[in-house]
């Protein structure tokens, strides 16, 4: 039996809430169970992949936030082969592939449909 295909869809920007870090935990769990894991970044989710993030707080008395998004770069090492990014979401936010911290595959709505259709499970964060 081939591995189950799990797609994790991330739609929120990092740091304003815990969505991103929870999605990342779920992805790492899926990957460690040897599932066939891929990740799709939609809408504000594309900000997760922005390179050179500055998550330092202006109030230095508060504990620093960990820049968890660096871990997306390591997903390949955990057996997550593909990071998909919706082309329109990226363009609408004035970003291009060169602004991102990891190599991604740009997809349009047509290919997103096909991508979702071939999954066993889809999780949206």
């Amino acid at each position: 039996m081939s591995a189950q295909k799990y797609l994790y869809v991330i739609t929120k920007a990092p740091y304003s809430n815990a969505t991103g870090i929870e999605a990342l935990d779920a992805i790492l769990i899926g990957a460690s169970f040897e599932l066939d894991v891929s990740v799709l970044f939609l809408h504000d989710g594309v900000f997760q992949l922005k390179a050179n993030q500055n998550c330092a707080l202006s109030d230095s008395s508060l504990p620093a936030i960990k820049q968890f998004t660096k871990t997306y770069k390591a997903l390949e090492d955990f057996g997550v082969d593909e990071l998909y990014v919706q082309e329109q979401s990226l363009a609408a936010r004035g970003l291009g592939e060169s602004d991102l911290l990891a190599p991604v595959k740009l997809v349009n709505n047509q290919s997103i449909k096909a991508l979702i259709a071939e999954q066993d499970q889809v999780f949206t964060f």
Partner: protein
């Protein structure tokens, strides 16, 4: 301050219940030797190859490397005999990912008990 800590050279370092440092930046090689000794491990060059790899990887990705990555990288760098779980377990009887992270001053990996 946390309720767990270790004393080393007149300094107090807070840790979690299993002895993982709370402050990664407080780490030093001397402290690593001491932490390892508390766990009954004398650090050799072979240990340091792995600990340094863990620290570099964490700097880049904010996560300890997965075991399959360690094995893949060490196979390339040092050859077959240093790149298998048996070799790693001989060096770190408590489990390579867990113990190497601990000695390297990294937080406890999420998939370790």
């Amino acid at each position: 301050m946390s309720e767990y800590s270790i004393e080393f050279q007149g300094q107090t370092y807070s840790t979690d219940v299993q002895g993982f440092l709370k402050q990664r930046l407080a780490w030093s090689p001397e402290l690593a030797v001491y932490i390892a000794k508390l766990d009954g491990v004398d650090l050799t060059n072979e240990h340091w190859e792995i600990i340094n790899y863990f620290r570099d990887y964490y700097d880049d990705y904010n996560i300890p490397p997965p075991m399959r990555m360690v094995i893949r990288v060490f196979k390339k760098a040092f050859g077959e005999e240093k790149a298998n779980s048996r070799y790693l377990l001989q060096l770190f009887p408590e489990g390579a990912t867990k113990a190497a992270s601990k000695f390297a001053g990294l937080p406890k990996p999420k998939n370790c008990k």
